[in-house]
């Protein structure tokens, strides 16, 4: 088995996923192309050494469809021999793209590749890639489908997580993200996005509100109360009969933000590093993926974390740093409670609640953030993990070398 190393990673700043967001005029393929070009440029990379570019996209339709990474490979001026593949495991897509490249390198079937992810949520809006699981009545009915926000509120209800708890978590995410930016902790990986005339359109995460307090957040309306009343509360009670009434604690302020963004990570075996003249920054220790109960949808991190740890022969205590995507505050709090992880060991530079969650890209971003933080703090091991729609989840463990 070949050891898989991380040689570098880059990400865009995240733009507000709306028509007035800075990245709205930039097509998804350009977001990816610029990241690929940056990786090539900063590493003086001979792209002919790469076997494959795997790209995670959660809504692989319209301009994000058609194996977008192949178009990006060609647009970026990479060697035509570099293959491309598009992967979708909803919100975990980006991390699974990294894991896909890692698997091929580990198996010796590839020497190097790029695991990447993208989502332009302003250009391909949420819901563009509706599937049977949400919208074919026969499937949605029998699977007890409920939207993610309902799942987040189910977690809060059955685990006794209060509105104050989630708002305080969210305010802390904002504070940490603000501090991380203020101290330049993301500086190494951020690649500003430029427009058609080469001007920078965004060089900083756009959706953050660093001064936000829990009191400010308390004023926001519960986002999913109308959905609960439209039938989803009853569906939730069918699976979680201990719920008398769903506690609708999640709002736009304590849920992940809708943003545009892309990220890319350069992976390869040791021989690739030598050929390319690059020094590995970390090794991929293990990875895992699971399915879990789909109505609550967001609790896979507990099981996928344990599965990845078991594959690595490690325990929770062996991980210095966790990066768990902040889809909603309740699912992070539950994860911390269930695995006994103190807040100072997880999402130390904020997360998607503050900076936004560009679905397919987030997995690559948080794995990269974990690596940067290990280097900054001099720590050794990290796990990045995400819950994904319909009860899925993925995790990756890295170790600095």
């Amino acid at each position: 088995m070949n050891e898989v190393f991380v040689y570098d990673h880059v990400r865009t700043p995240r733009g507000k996923g709306r028509p007035d967001g800075a990245l709205h005029e930039i097509p998804a393929v350009q977001l990816v192309t610029q990241q690929l070009q940056a990786l090539q440029r900063r590493n003086a990379l001979d792209t002919a050494l790469l076997d494959d570019v795997a790209l995670g996209v959660a809504q692989a339709v319209a301009e994000q469809g058609g194996v977008l990474p192949r178009a990006a490979v060609l647009a970026a001026g990479y060697a035509q021999s570099v293959a491309a593949i598009q992967l979708n495991r909803f919100c975990a897509s980006g991390l699974d793209a990294v894991n896909f490249i890692a698997a091929n390198v580990r198996a010796g079937m590839a020497g190097a590749g790029i695991g990447a992810g993208v989502e332009s949520m302003s250009r391909v809006p949420f819901g563009s890639d509706a599937g049977a699981w949400t919208s074919d009545p026969r499937i949605a009915f029998h699977n007890h489908f409920a939207p993610q926000g309902i799942g987040a509120d189910i977690i809060a209800t059955i685990d006794g997580i209060t509105r104050r708890d989630v708002d305080e978590y969210a305010a802390e995410s904002q504070r940490r993200a603000g501090q991380a930016w203020a101290e330049g902790r993301f500086a190494r990986s951020i690649v500003a996005v430029t427009d058609l005339i080469g001007e920078v359109v965004l060089d900083r995460d756009e959706a953050m509100r660093p001064g936000t307090s829990a009191d400010d957040l308390a004023a926001l309306k519960p986002a999913f109360a109308p959905l609960a009343k439209a039938g989803y509360e009853r569906i939730a009670q069918e699976i979680y009969p201990q719920i008398e009434a769903l506690q609708n604690v999640h709002t736009g302020g304590n849920s992940s933000g809708i943003v545009d963004g892309a990220a890319a990570m350069l992976l390869g075996d040791a021989a690739f590093g030598e050929k390319a003249g690059l020094k590995p920054r970390a090794r991929i220790v293990s990875w895992a993926t699971v399915g879990s109960e789909p109505t609550i949808m967001l609790t896979a991190p507990e099981t996928v974390a344990m599965k990845a740890l078991a594959k690595a022969g490690m325990a929770v205590a062996d991980i210095d740093l966790f990066e768990l995507n902040e889809a909603f505050a309740s699912m992070v709090l539950r994860f911390m409670n269930r695995l006994g992880i103190a807040h100072d060991r997880i999402n130390v530079n904020g997360g998607s609640i503050a900076m936004g969650h560009p679905l397919g890209a987030t997995g690559v971003m948080i794995l990269g953030t974990a690596l940067d933080e290990l280097e900054r703090s001099g720590k050794s091991t990290a796990m990045a993990l995400l819950c994904a729609a319909n009860g899925l989840g993925s995790a990756t463990i890295i170790e600095r070398v």
């Binding site: 563009s128 049977a132 919208s135 009853r234 009434a245």
Partner: protein, 707 residues
């Protein structure tokens, strides 16, 4: 072929009139013979060269009823997916032939066109509807656990779009003319007698005889399925609404949504086949069978007097006496007055009787506000009620219903006072829900003329009346009671005398089971959610609050006093006694298992957790649901064994329409058949071992299982 169901006349003007007129029947019904004749008609229309189009009318007061449900019921035992599909395709393809005849077809609807009848009109190219409140259209199949299997989901879906069509198909409601026109369910309204002329004029104008979906390029957003986000969201939310409203016990609503979702993406004939396949899946599902057998065929038969002794002449009540102007008495008085019956409303003094009449008036005013009655109608109805404190005013009554306080002494006194003044052949009925009829009749000089008429509260909403036969009640008295209920359009079941009769006895099993679970340490929300998930309208603890906890205790104590050791004291009764100690008696004290003034409205009382601590391990919901269904089914089987129930349908109707037993089961005895008596007995024995002897199946059931 001799035509028995319809006749075709092609006029000099080349316009054919197809008159639906089933011989020897009050209504036109779709049967095998009907379909054969309709096929012949289509052949004739196709072959008739000069024929320019066809107008379809009915000679009956209704246009055309749907499929013959009794025939369908008879076919259920041998129904397979393949035969169900073939059945649906047979009628669907016939209607499709009409649609593709190449000649314009017009439906002239002068009475109700519901279900299969309305589907026939949907296959026509234009629909004309009489502008009269009785002429309604709609597709009520969902109420029978079915879907319209002759193109109804596909044509309505393409005409109205999935959202509006879904609303009509999922509610199954009948639509009156003005709304039908506005929604596009029909194309034109006409005044009485002018429908055929209007239809002929339309045909004479040489209209296009193709449907939009048979023209090139037909498309609607739903055609592209989930490629259109709005369509995807629409179906997602519609699915949630179905689950939220109907729960997960009913297969028909979601099948209807699937017909729209899948069918609207397909070419029309393939879409019809999809509809037929979903139809077939419902036909082999026991739920449709149960709903048709109990809530349609069984209910209709009961309404038509299935339990009425046939050889007794019909006797209508012209003047009804009601003694006791409380909630129940006034409800009964109002129902009778609305049916055109004069009512003498008696209470202890004039003021109380007058207050009772005022209460009837308030109820009628609500109906006026809702548009169900006109103000002058309400006035006429109210004028039929004569309040008095004078028992002699009851002299002209053919029937007197006593609705006084549930106390044997008061009941006896009332009976004596009434019998002193009424005619020798008048019937005396008591609305008691708990006291044995035979005991009350024992006070009577003519006990054969005493009967129980147990109405349910609120009388205006509850269709069921439990007719209780005392030991000496005569067939003539029974017939008179049933004739009266038919006058006021109530649904009767007939049961024999015994403590709690049928419904009060069986409803107890639900609330007792809920209390038992609480005693076992099951979390209250699980207890309540399991009830609703099984299909009960409310959870058992909520029902206990409505019944009042002290009343529930009194019933148990009475049983202990009467039966002694033979009575198995319900395991949850200590819970009830503790609640009484706490002064939490239910809704009447604004505090029971629920609190009623919480910020979010009615909520389970948080103090329950401390009073009745939850067990560390909680049972799965499926077991809790079965415990309710089994407890009440077993009690029903015991009622059969005890002779309280003579006909299974009385238990099935009584449990569904009286005490909220889930309709999908077909009723409390129907549930045993749905599970299968062998499997039922085995499961009941398992429950008896785990939860107590109350689940032990009665001997008769065990014998049936062994057979």
């Amino acid at each position: 072929m001799t035509m028995q169901h319809m006749r075709l006349d092609i006029g000099q003007d080349g316009i054919a009139i197809l008159t639906l007129d089933q011989q020897g029947a009050a209504a036109n019904v779709i049967s095998d013979a009907w379909m054969a004749e309709f096929a012949t008609v289509l052949d004739q229309l196709g072959a008739a060269e000069g024929c320019r189009g066809v107008v379809i009318v009915s000679a009956k007061s209704t246009f055309l009823a749907g499929a013959d449900l009794a025939m369908l019921d008879a076919a259920f035992p041998t129904m397979t997916l393949a035969s169900g599909f073939a059945l649906s395709q047979q009628i669907s393809k016939l209607l499709r032939r009409l649609e593709l005849l190449g000649k314009p077809a017009a439906a002239v609807i002068e009475g109700a066109a519901l279900g299969g009848g309305y589907e026939l009109t949907l296959a026509c190219h234009r629909r004309f509807l009489l502008d009269d409140a009785k002429a309604v259209v709609g597709l009520p199949e969902v109420q029978l656990g079915l879907l319209p299997g002759a193109g109804g989901t596909q044509r309505l879906g393409r005409m109205l779009g999935s959202r509006k069509a879904g609303e009509l198909l999922l509610s199954g409601r009948s639509v009156r003319p003005a709304e039908a026109l506005e929604l596009g369910l029909v194309d034109e309204l006409f005044a009485a007698g002018q429908g055929v002329e209007a239809a002929k004029a339309w045909i004479a104008s040489g209209p296009d005889a193709t449907k939009p979906w048979d023209r090139k390029g037909f498309a609607m957003p739903e055609s592209r399925g989930l490629a259109i986000p709005e369509v995807a969201v629409g179906f997602s939310m519609a699915t949630a609404a179905v689950a939220g409203k109907a729960g997960f016990n009913m297969p028909a609503p979601v099948a209807i949504l699937s017909c729209l979702f899948e069918g609207l993406q397909l070419p029309f004939d393939r879409a019809l086949a999809i509809e037929s396949k979903y139809f077939a899946r419902l036909l082999v599902d026991p739920v449709a069978r149960n709903l048709i057998r109990t809530t349609f065929l069984g209910r209709n038969a009961a309404l038509k007097g299935a339990r009425r002794p046939a050889d007794v002449p019909r006797r209508d009540v012209k003047t009804l006496g009601v003694v006791g102007a409380g909630l129940m008495g006034c409800g009964i008085a109002s129902a009778a007055a609305q049916a055109g019956i004069a009512v003498v409303l008696v209470d202890r003094d004039q003021a109380t009787a007058e207050a009772g009449k005022a209460r009837v008036g308030t109820g009628l005013e609500k109906l006026v506000t809702k548009g169900r009655l006109k103000a002058e109608q309400a006035e006429t109805i109210l004028s039929r009620v004569s309040p008095t404190a004078d028992f002699t005013a009851l002299a002209p009554c053919e029937l007197v219903i006593e609705a006084v306080f549930e106390d044997a002494a008061i009941k006896a006194e009332t009976l004596h006072k009434v019998e002193a003044v009424i005619a020798a052949d008048a019937i005396y009925a008591t609305n008691t829900s708990t006291l044995p009829i035979t005991g009350i009749a024992g006070q009577s000089a003519r006990p054969d003329q005493v009967i129980g008429l147990h109405f349910f509260s609120p009388v205006e909403l509850m269709e069921l009346v439990e007719v209780v036969m005392g030991r000496q009640t005569s067939p003539v008295t029974l017939a008179a009671g049933l004739d009266f209920l038919r006058q006021i359009r109530k649904l009767p079941i007939v049961v024999n005398d015994g403590r709690g009769f049928y419904t009060s006895r069986v409803v107890q099993r639900y609330i007792i089971e809920g209390a038992a679970m609480l005693a076992e340490g099951v979390e209250p929300a699980r207890i309540e959610n399991a009830g609703r998930s099984a299909g009960y309208p409310v959870g058992p603890l909520a029902l206990l609050d409505e019944v009042a906890i002290d009343l529930a205790i009194r019933i148990v104590d009475q049983a202990i006093a009467q039966e002694g050791d033979a009575y198995e004291v319900p395991p949850g009764v200590e819970i009830l006694r503790r609640m009484k100690e706490l002064g939490r008696l239910g809704r009447k004290t604004s505090a029971g298992f629920y609190e009623y003034d919480a910020p979010g409205g009615k909520r389970l009382w948080p103090g329950l957790a401390a009073e009745f601590p939850a067990a560390a391990e909680q049972p799965d919901s499926a077991t809790l649901k079965e415990r309710y269904l089994y407890a009440q089914a077993l009690e029903s089987a015991r009622c059969v064994e005890d002779g309280i129930i003579e006909h299974a349908i009385d238990a099935d109707l009584g449990s569904i329409f009286g005490i909220g037993y889930p309709a999908w089961t077909g009723g409390a005895l129907g549930y045993i058949d749905t599970v299968g008596v062998k499997a039922f007995v085995a499961r009941a024995d398992d429950f008896a071992a785990r939860f107590g002897p109350r689940f032990t199946p009665p001997a008769s059931l065990r014998e049936k299982a062994a057979a």
